[in-house]
């Protein structure tokens, strides 16, 4: 039997695929014990028929057909003909959804590369030893991996997820098994953690995974605390630091432009990679869980004069008006606040804590009703079943199922400005989708197939995906 799919029906097997790739596949399996296919060889042509298609761009299509060719969606609809040469898949009883997008993810990133800044302690410099300005940190602490002309603690703004991603990371395949085809991956350590990239979970070469990069700068308000306190050491300090960096970047931009226009008679602006990193980020991601933080970050975003996306959203149910008025999108953490299962059963939680736990999953419904743009992110939930359960919790709290799907597909794409290519099942968009044997939120539903860039993967019981098939 052909190694592509046991399910193959209809037309002829494209010969070029079949032979050459079969051979390669066996070779690779033998050599590396892993699946790995590049996009070389012939592109695929698939048609899924008789399925319920949830496009995220309109009402669901019953008994519809979707055609994927050369990695792109060619046609979707109730009356779509299956093109000659297509691998036709009988989708009877199946549901087709746009590939899920984790809108804020660390999948595929190696841990050490963007770990905390390493600090080396030099010998104390003796009485009065300090640096000129005083705000750069203490005299005997240096940030080893900070090589800019000015000390920029906790700043790796120039680092891009696309350059760090490890295509064979197990988390990518696990996510794909659950229907995720895309992750917006960010380095996440430090105050200026680095730049995010929209990555398709296709395996293969890292370069092939990149849909768009960079899409934003990940900012946290983490004070620098690695045993040796340094600036900024407080939330206030983090605000001041970020504000100064954005001001510096603005000045840097002006200086560079003037110098480029005519260098004669001007002091040369020193190259500063931390500021370069800020300038090449089209937007900034700011943490905002509670309402107070959401309001605060909306104001801060205006001040920074850069488009912002907020992430967190624990108290989004109280902040819909603020978000709506500001037109600021929110990435909602699917890890809802919960009572610690292993906690002291007699602990008396405050009413505010209890209310937050009670209401957090209702946030998405409130936002949807208010017309606020929001998307979900996995927030460290590793098991696909947990993600599904978390989404279900939001649905149980009043979120329409279509809106739940949008929050993991088209809304995420819109927030990052890639909705021209991702997020819904529409002709011309990237062939990212997944096929289930039932409503994707139902407990027993299984993901049968996942297409990423038009390549077909099939989840297996062991957790790995077979494919591309």
């Amino acid at each position: 039997m052909c190694g592509w799919t046991g399910r193959r029906v209809g037309k002829n097997c494209p010969p070029c695929y079949h032979k050459s790739q079969m051979k390669r596949r066996h070779l690779l399996l033998a050599a590396a014990g892993a699946f790995a296919y590049g996009q070389s060889g012939s592109p695929g042509l698939y048609a899924i028929q008789n399925a319920t298609i949830h496009t995220a761009a309109g009402p669901a299509i019953a008994n519809g057909t979707i055609v994927v060719r050369n990695g792109l969606i060619e046609a979707v609809g109730a009356n779509v003909a299956v093109p000659a040469g297509a691998w036709a898949i009988d989708g009877k009883g199946m549901h087709v959804y746009p590939g899920l997008i984790d809108s804020l993810s660390r999948w595929g990133l190696p841990a050490p590369v963007d770990g905390p800044p390493r600090i080396v302690v030099a010998a104390p410099t003796g009485g009065g030893g300090r640096r000129g300005g005083g705000d750069e940190g203490p005299s005997n602490v240096q940030f080893q991996d900070d090589g800019g002309p000015e000390e920029r603690p906790s700043n790796t703004s120039w680092v891009k997820a696309a350059d760090l991603v490890q295509p064979n990371d197990a988390s990518l395949a696990a996510a794909r098994n659950a229907g995720f085809t895309t992750a917006v991956v960010f380095p996440a350590t430090g105050i200026f953690a680095g730049q995010g990239s929209v990555l398709n979970l296709s395996g293969g070469k890292a370069g092939d995974m990149v849909v768009s990069s960079p899409v934003g700068q990940f900012l946290s308000m983490a004070a620098v605390r690695n045993g040796l306190a340094s600036f900024p050491g407080s939330l206030m300090g983090s605000f001041a630091y970020i504000r100064q960096i954005y001001l510096d970047a603005e000045q840097y931009k002006t200086a560079k432009a003037m110098y480029a226009q005519n260098a004669r008679g001007l002091q040369r602006p020193a190259y500063d990679r931390a500021l370069e990193g800020v300038l090449e980020s089209p937007r900034a991601l700011l943490p905002a869980g509670r309402k107070v933080e959401i309001d605060r970050m909306i104001r801060f975003g205006k001040e920074l004069k850069t488009p912002v996306i907020l992430y967190g959203g624990t108290e989004a149910w109280r902040a819909a008006d603020s978000l709506k008025a500001a037109g600021v999108p929110l990435l909602m953490n699917l890890r809802w606040p919960e009572r610690d299962r292993d906690g002291d059963p007699d602990v008396m939680d405050s009413l505010r804590t209890l209310e937050t736990r009670e209401m957090a999953p209702a946030g998405p419904a409130v936002l949807a009703k208010a017309g606020v743009k929001f998307a979900f992110y996995s927030g460290g939930l590793e098991r696909p079943a947990d993600v599904r359960r978390a989404v279900k919790k939001a649905v149980d709290a009043g979120l329409a199922k279509e809106d739940a799907l949008r929050a993991l597909t088209i809304s995420a794409a819109q927030i990052y400005g890639v909705d021209d290519r991702l997020g819904s099942l529409e002709p011309g968009k990237i062939g990212n989708l997944f096929v289930t044997d039932g409503d994707w939120l139902a407990e027993k539903t299984q993901v049968k197939m996942v297409f990423v860039d038009g390549k077909k993967f099939e989840p297996t019981a062991g957790g790995q995906t077979n494919g591309p098939a």
């Binding site: 302690v121 104390p124 009485g127 009065g128 030893g129 300090r130 300005g133 005083g134 705000d135 940190g137 203490p138 620098v224 605390r225 045993g227 040796l228 306190a229 340094s230 600036f231 900024p232 050491g233 407080s234 939330l235 206030m236 300090g237 605000f239 001041a240 100064q244 001001l247 000045q251 002006t254 200086a255 003037m258 110098y259 005519n262 008679g265 001007l266 002091q267 602006p269 509670r290 309402k291 107070v292 605060r296 104001r299 801060f300 109280r318 919960e338 009572r339 299962r341 906690g343 059963p345 008396m348 939680d349 405050s350 009413l351 505010r352 209310e355 009670e358 209401m359 209702a362 409130v366």
Partner: protein, 447 residues
């Protein structure tokens, strides 16, 4: 949705019965104006301001009338030194943290605000901590419980900045990390002085750079604009008299040091905070024009706070220094009226002088006395009703108004408690049950 309003209704909203707008008359009250004596009579509130005060005020048609039942009405208390309502206090990593500001971390939902209201406080100066010779920028807030961060700021208040002398700024920094930390300059009082001098020397140079740029750019020269420096900008504002300095200090010698440095650089110290040895140098403080904001009788918590006396406030006041009493503490903040009362016992101040220490005097120190600090026509209707004279230990706050809006009502608070407790129990049981259900049989959580 109903549940959505729950927190809003019970935890955060002001006592909403009286939204701003309609006229209110508080009648049958013993009115302590602080600046214009005391009288039995009524107060008319219109558009959030005090419109009329007198023995006979005619309630306009449609006005809501509150019968004070012979209880006492005084101006809302002003605390000139507090750290509530902020999610950060110290940027302790550096000796000059003037780039930071409380405004960035204001938390309008800090329960401390509501508790301050319950203690009759309506306005407070929220200061950066004292870890640095030059600390961060402060904000002045009103306890507008239920409003968002920009709305609780007292608009129009002069910006300020915290300084600190003595033991705190010369400590090693970063102690809040809980781990042994590195040495930070300065380590002595000499060093504190040096840090302040150097910072202002830098600020002057920065100002010169900016001026030079502006002059050259104005002449049409092609010059790259200089970098804005958020650390030095507030210090330039101090030099230009556009930002107040609130300086944490204890000892007479360091107080004199700071006054001399300020004189040398040509700026003013607006308030000396704590200033426990202020009674020793009251003349010099008066000559400089600084205000003093002190404790009634809180001392000996460290060596530099030993030479303190309960007469400090009264003695400085009698030397002509503008004196206030502050709390620096979320708990003491709730009974500043009692702190003021101590200056009647220690120093023999009159009732009005004592009340002035927590109302009009701090208002003057913060330059907000045209708005708040006394019961006078035209001022903000920030009023507190006490059941007994506020200088009595038995006095309890009954109602608190800010801008004519009622933000605290004791009766309502008491009756809300049962409702809150019932809701808390209900949620508690529900979440306990959910957590138990989520725990898989066998007890161990899958990893």
């Amino acid at each position: 949705m109903d549940r959505r309003k729950f927190i809003g209704g019970l935890l955060l909203a002001p006592v909403a019965a009286m939204a701003a707008g309609g006229d209110i008359v508080i009648r049958n009250a013993k009115i302590l104006t602080v600046t214009k004596g005391s009288l039995d009579g009524s107060i008319l509130i219109r558009n959030g301001k005090i419109a009329e005060v007198g023995p006979n005020v005619t309630a306009p048609a449609g006005a809501r009338v509150i019968d004070a039942g012979g209880q006492f009405v005084m101006p809302g208390i002003i605390d000139c030194h507090s750290h509530i309502a902020t999610e950060a206090v110290n940027e302790g990593s550096v000796s000059v943290s003037s780039m930071t500001g409380i405004e960035d971390t204001v938390n309008p939902e800090d329960i401390g605000i509501y508790r301050a209201l319950a203690g009759g406080v309506t306005t407070a100066n929220i200061l950066h901590g004292s870890a640095n010779a030059i600390g961060g920028k402060n904000v002045v807030i009103k306890m507008r419980w239920g409003k968002d961060a920009p709305e609780i700021l007292l608009d129009g208040a002069m910006p300020g900045i915290k300084f600190a002398l003595g033991e705190n700024p010369k400590r090693r920094g970063g102690s809040d990390s809980g781990i042994a930390t590195r040495l930070r300059y300065p380590a002595t009082r000499m060093g504190v002085e040096d840090v302040i001098r150097e910072a202002f020397t830098d600020a002057r140079a920065y100002k010169a750079t900016l001026d030079d740029y502006k002059a050259r750019a104005a002449k049409g020269e092609r010059v790259i604009p200089p970098r804005r420096d958020l650390k030095l900008e507030p210090l330039v504002e101090v030099l230009e008299g556009k930002r107040f300095v609130h300086a944490h200090c204890y000892r007479a010698d360091e107080i004199l040091m700071l006054l001399r440095v300020a004189d040398e650089f040509g700026f003013k110290i607006r308030t000396l905070q704590h200033v426990l040895e202020g009674y020793k140098v009251a003349k010099e403080i008066k000559e400089h024009g600084a205000g003093a904001s002190t404790f009634s009788d809180w001392w000996s918590y460290k060596v530099e706070a030993y030479d303190a006396i309960p007469y400090n406030a009264a003695l400085m006041h009698k030397k002509g220094v503008l004196v206030s009493l502050n709390s620096d503490d979320a708990e003491m903040m709730r009974h500043l009226n009692q702190e003021a009362a101590k200056s009647v016992r220690y120093g023999g101040l009159t009732d009005d002088e004592a009340l002035a220490l927590i109302t009009i005097n701090p208002a003057k120190q913060l330059a907000i006395d045209s708005r708040v600090g006394s019961i006078e026509v035209g001022k903000d209707a920030d009023l507190v009703i006490y059941d007994k004279h506020p200088l009595s230990n038995y006095a309890k706050v009954q109602k608190v108004f800010i801008d004519g809006e009622m933000y605290f009502e004791r009766d309502k608070d008491m009756s809300d408690r049962a409702v809150r407790e019932a809701r808390r129990k209900q949620l508690m049981e529900k979440q306990k049950a959910a957590a138990t259900a989520a725990r898989p049989a066998g007890g161990r959580r899958p990893q």
